[in-house]
């Protein structure tokens, strides 16, 4: 039963996540935090922070780690398989068909219509993270870290891994 849940928890985000790995983050959160309760919002955000600061595809890192936490090595393999295999098989099978229609308005509309959903899911998740953070460290610390990390990553183009590293040091000594 556990392995079946692990499979479902990553099969659903894998088959519904349009726009690559990051688009499936809120879908993974929906399964892992809301549905199965394997992690709290806090634990999920910690894991996401680390996953973001490590290299490589994000969706499979999450599937591999959460699968491992829930069901050991077999759980990890099942999670990754569920995340990767369906869309990959679809890709190889449908390549010819979709390639033929890639300029069709229907196919283009498909990608377009899904964007606001992903935006909403990401937005709700961001809001919940901010909320958790205010409860944990207060408004001013939250704003300080948010604004300075925004300026560093988005304006000054500092690599996120460096910013996360510096933030970890700040948290260890100041908070």
């Amino acid at each position: 039963m556990k392995y079946w849940h692990i499979f479902l928890a990553f099969f659903i985000p894998g088959i519904l996540g349009y726009g690559g790995g990051p688009a499936s983050i809120p879908l993974v959160e929906n399964e892992v935090v809301r549905r199965y309760g394997w992690m709290s919002v806090q634990e999920f955000s910690e894991m996401l922070a680390l996953a973001n600061s490590l290299p490589g595809p994000i969706a499979t890192k999450l599937a591999g780690y959460i699968g491992y936490e829930q069901g050991g090595i077999l759980g990890s393999v099942i999670g990754v398989f569920a995340a990767v295999a369906p869309s990959l098989i679809l890709m190889i099978v449908l390549l010819g068909v979709l390639y033929k229609y890639k300029d069709s308005p229907k196919v283009q509309r498909l990608t377009l219509y899904v964007r606001p959903v992903i935006a909403i899911l990401l937005g709700v998740m961001a809001w919940r993270f901010f909320h958790t953070s205010i409860e944990g460290i207060g408004v001013w610390q939250m704003l300080l870290i948010t604004i300075s990390s925004f300026l560093l990553i988005e304006r000054m183009r500092v690599h996120p891994a460096i910013v996360i590293g510096v933030t970890l040091v700040y948290g260890a000594f100041v908070l």
């Binding site: 088959i15 519904l16 996540g17 726009g19 690559g20 790995g21 990051p22 499936s24 983050i25 809120p26 879908l27 929906n30 806090q42 910690e46 894991m47 973001n52 490590l54 290299p55 490589g56 595809p57 994000i58 969706a59 499979t60 890192k61 591999g64 491992y68 995340a83 990767v84 869309s87 679809l90 890709m91 190889i92 449908l94 390549l95 979709l98 390639y99 308005p105 509309r109 498909l110 377009l112 899904v114 964007r115 606001p116 959903v117 909403i120 990401l122 709700v124 961001a126 809001w127 993270f129 953070s133 460290i137 925004f150 990553i153 933030t167 970890l168 948290g171 260890a172 000594f173 908070l175």
Partner: protein, 193 residues
């Protein structure tokens, strides 16, 4: 295809290992790295084939990096190549993640570790907020402010207040996208006449 199958497999493994270890920012962040290996270095595909592949991969659901790795591996040397390329791009970072997180959770209750994890949450929230804005912006560029705002508001109500599973919302929108008549192409034809 020179060099025989073992050499080809070795090259696939090295190429996608490098992509996995150097690509920060999730799958989309590794696209330029895949391009470098596949088109420039090993010349498995030309520019145009790679562009088509990318467009197609973007219209399908699921993780992007593994779709590309899997398809390119399959294209270069069949099912074995597919498995090889996918594993090479994901296994190293999954192992890193498990090792680092396992050691982190054993010291979770120490005060300074709690401070570290508390400090990182706003950074992640900020990165998610930026990603949110990018998705809104691309939706707006594709279908204008009004439709984007109306759709977003309806989706927000369905997800947050009515508790509809996001999968159902996405499924409904896919049906809408495929089922809707192609108004834009019809008007274009009308304009031509």
């Amino acid at each position: 295809m020179t060099g025989g199958i073992p050499l080809q497999q070795w090259r696939l493994m090295i190429a996608f290992f490098r992509v996995g270890m150097l690509g920060y920012g999730g799958g989309p962040g590794s696209i330029p790295l895949i391009h470098k290996e596949v088109v420039d270095k090993y010349e498995w595909m030309d520019e145009e084939e790679f562009g088509d592949l990318l467009a197609l991969a973007n219209t399908l659901p699921g993780p992007l990096a593994t779709k590309l790795a899997g398809y390119i591996g399959y294209y270069v040397s069949g099912v074995i190549g597919m498995i090889n390329a996918v594993l090479a791009s994901i296994i190293p970072t999954i192992l890193l993640m498990i090792v680092l997180l396992a050691s982190l959770s054993s010291v979770r209750d120490v005060a300074w570790v709690e401070g570290m994890t508390a400090a990182v949450i706003p950074v992640v929230a900020m990165m998610l907020a930026v990603l949110t804005w990018q998705f809104f912006n691309r939706a707006r560029q594709g279908m204008g402010w009004i439709q984007t705002v109306v759709m977003s508001a309806l989706i927000f109500i369905a997800y947050q207040f009515l508790g509809v599973h996001p999968g159902i919302i996405i499924g409904a929108l896919i049906v809408m996208a495929i089922g809707r008549k192609d108004k834009s192409s019809a008007t274009e034809e009308g304009e031509k006449q």
